[in-house]
């Protein structure tokens, strides 16, 4: 238990610290790196709770794909972050105030929870059991109890894809494109014209 507690506090502290650093880091590349750190520590917290599958997914999807994509974008786009930060100091007091208010309120709620306890009849997270692994447990409900929302989530992704295509695909006229199918379907009949040339007259296309 103490080991788990130590791990929790370390991971939690790193998560919070890294999240703050994402916002405050001067260099955007550093920000993204801190974001990756945050994801990693969060994945560690998942592991602590026995949700290894979620932890792996977080690492694979968010760290492996999303964050790296972010990194590429940040590095490739020539964004003048200094100018974006110009208003930072100006808005800081007001922003800090709102943040402080929200924080205080969250602390109040947290205190409430510590005092009264969370939901009395919580089912709690699916704890790892001997009979069923984490992946099995998710798989058991994903296509049964949650098939409706799962399919809906699939549609969300579809919409995202349609959107990406609609908003970015442009058919520019006059651009030569390769059509493999057309190339493959080409026959000698279509491509070759047999002409008989009388000598001395030449060929006029």
């Amino acid at each position: 238990m103490p080991l788990q507690a130590i791990a929790f506090y370390v991971l939690a502290a790193v998560t919070v610290f890294a999240a703050v650093a994402v916002v405050f880091a001067r260099n955007p590349v550093h920000s993204v790196l801190f974001l990756i750190t945050t994801f990693f520590s969060a994945a560690g917290l998942f592991v602590l709770m026995g949700a290894e599958f979620l932890a792996m997914m977080l690492v694979v999807v968010y760290v492996g794909a999303v964050a790296v994509l972010f990194l590429f974008v940040v590095m490739m786009l020539d964004v003048d972050f200094a100018s974006l930060r110009q208003g930072f100091a100006r808005y800081l007091p007001l922003g800090a105030l709102v943040a402080a208010v929200l924080t205080v309120e969250m602390v109040i709620v947290a205190a409430d929870v510590a005092h009264l306890g969370a939901a009395a009849s919580s089912t709690g997270p699916a704890t790892p059991s001997a009979v069923m692994t984490n992946v099995e447990a998710i798989g058991a409900v994903l296509y049964t109890d949650y098939v409706y929302v799962f399919q809906a989530a699939g549609l969300v992704l579809l919409v995202a894809m349609i959107g990406a295509i609609v908003l970015t695909l442009k058919h520019r006229p006059g651009v030569k494109r390769q059509s493999v199918a057309a190339q493959m379907a080409r026959t000698p009949k279509a491509g070759v014209r047999m002409v008989t040339i009388n000598s001395g007259e030449g060929v006029d296309a």
Binding site: V109, S121, Y148, V149, A152, A153, L155, I165, V166
Partner: protein, 476 residues
């Protein structure tokens, strides 16, 4: 529960999802057959209305999906409004050389998302449905690629929408944590003996997230900018159906799962409602762009709908449903008018553009006048009846001060509604206005005809239908 039974309960959703997938394939292989895709899209929406009318009632997927009269009522209105959006939008884009087959499909998917919102009785399906709907709308807002404003509108909508999603998700996770489950029934059981501070905290966040979707103040900031930038038919769609869906969802969350905490959330809704009415009325005074103006008008309208909802109980929810339904017709008609009006291809969007409209396009000017007066709540137009329901519910629920505040807002807002009428009827016209396209003008006339006098007859059917829907929503 057999798969057939499950499929029957989700029939409209399956129909729309299937239709959108099929049409996507059709469009991918026949990119030129846009009219076909649009036509089939309209047909499948109309078919969905029919399915909604006859499908069985029940619950499935542990509350992820509820088929009841509340959902059916709202879905019918939403699908009809969506069909109108396709009818209006497809030719509109075609006239600008922007026609693409994705437009009807995106509307279909948005309609699907909205239908799911109406049917969600679980925080997970609530979230997924909202995202499905929102994502489609973000894309639609930016649909006019050649127009920088449209892209800006889409981006703003997306970024702020993401923020609101974050706020909402935070609330959802808090509620989940404190209630120990995501289904509304479970939450209701958890708060049956009073909501703890934590749940309340989560609830406020959830309400804030949904408030963004209905553009209630103070989460309304995106509305004027997005309305101004987005293509007109899309705005007509935005302003109507999604708000009804979000209001129904809000009603279901609040009454089904947080019914015992009525006293608490009522206060929050009243605050937002009065803020919305005030912002909608006051900020509208200085607008010169009609689309922006109607954005403020819609903010104020949501304020009234929220007052109805805040009244709570079947009466309050019924008032909200009637109000929103009439509002959807009103706003759709108004944007149909705007979509019908252009001068040498450039759409008319400002007060100066429509000055003296009555002398050139008397029919559309009369229709716009009808919509403006209805927005103002002048008898005997439909806006009055909506407000009547709302105020009646509010007063019988002891919210008379809120009703009075909203009425004062109406008085202030009268300025800009009447200003529009004045500009159209009394000012001098400038320049020739293009012949209005048949579909937009026809839709505008139909809506105007509904606003008055058909509404008087329609209310006879609307009243009991909304009442049954409200009972279903409240009793869960």
């Amino acid at each position: 529960m057999t798969p057939v039974h499950l499929a029957a309960l989700a029939a409209p959703q399956l129909l729309l999802a299937g239709a959108s997938l099929v049409l996507l394939v059709v469009g991918a292989f026949r990119p030129k057959a846009i009219r076909l895709v649009a036509g089939l899209g309209v047909l499948s929406l109309l078919a969905a209305v029919g399915v909604v009318a006859i499908e069985p009632l029940g619950r499935a997927f542990g509350g992820d999906l509820v088929a009841d009269q509340g959902a059916a009522f709202a879905e019918a209105v939403i699908y009809l409004a969506s069909a109108a959006a396709i009818l209006l939008g497809q030719p509109w884009f075609a006239r600008r050389g922007q026609a693409r087959f994705e437009f009807p499909i995106l509307i279909l998917i948005a309609a699907l998302g909205m239908g799911m919102m109406c049917r969600a009785a679980d925080l997970i399906s609530l979230f997924v449905a909202i995202e499905l709907q929102s994502l489609s709308l973000y894309i639609l807002a930016a649909f006019e690629k050649s127009d920088g404003k449209s892209a800006e509108a889409g981006l703003k909508y997306f970024v702020l929408g993401a923020l609101s999603t974050g706020i909402m998700l935070y609330g959802v996770s808090l509620i989940y944590g404190f209630a120990g489950g995501t289904s509304f029934a479970r939450i209701a059981a958890a708060v049956a003996h009073g909501a703890s501070g934590g749940v309340l905290f989560g609830l406020v966040f959830l309400i804030c997230g949904l408030a963004f979707k209905v553009s209630a103040a103070p989460f309304h900031m995106w509305t004027p900018d997005v309305y101004e930038g987005a293509p007109t038919p899309v705005v007509g769609f935005f302003a109507g159906a999604p708000k009804l869906a979000a209001m129904v969802l809000l009603a279901r969350v609040l009454t089904e799962s947080f019914g015992p905490a009525l006293a608490q959330w009522r206060q929050i809704l009243v605050v937002m409602a009065i803020l919305s009415v005030a912002v909608g009325a006051l900020a509208g005074l200085r607008q010169s762009n009609l689309k922006r103006l109607w954005a403020y008008s819609s903010i104020a309208s949501i304020g009234y709908a929220l007052i109805g909802l805040a009244a709570g109980g079947p009466e309050g929810v019924q008032a909200m449903l009637v109000y929103m339904t009439l509002y959807v017709v009103d706003v759709t008609g108004f944007f149909a008018c705007l979509a019908a009006l252009a001068r040498e291809g450039r759409p008319l969007e400002s007060f100066a553009d429509v000055s003296g409209l009555v002398r050139q396009r008397p029919g559309l000017a009369v229709a716009m006048t009808v919509f403006a007066l209805s927005g103002l709540g002048l008898p005997p137009f439909s806006g009055l009846w909506g407000k009547f329901y709302v105020f009646k519910a509010a007063i019988s629920a002891g919210l008379a001060p809120a009703a009075v505040a909203a009425l004062i807002g109406s008085v202030v807002a009268a300025y800009y509604y009447l200003r529009l009428v004045k500009v159209m009827w009394l000012d001098a016209p400038e320049g020739q206005i293009d012949a209005p396209p048949a579909e937009a003008a026809g839709l505008a006339y139909a809506a105007a005809f509904f606003v008055f006098p058909v509404v008087l007859i329609a209310l006879m059917a609307l009243d009991p239908a909304a009442r049954a829907a409200a009972l279903a929503l409240v009793q869960g």
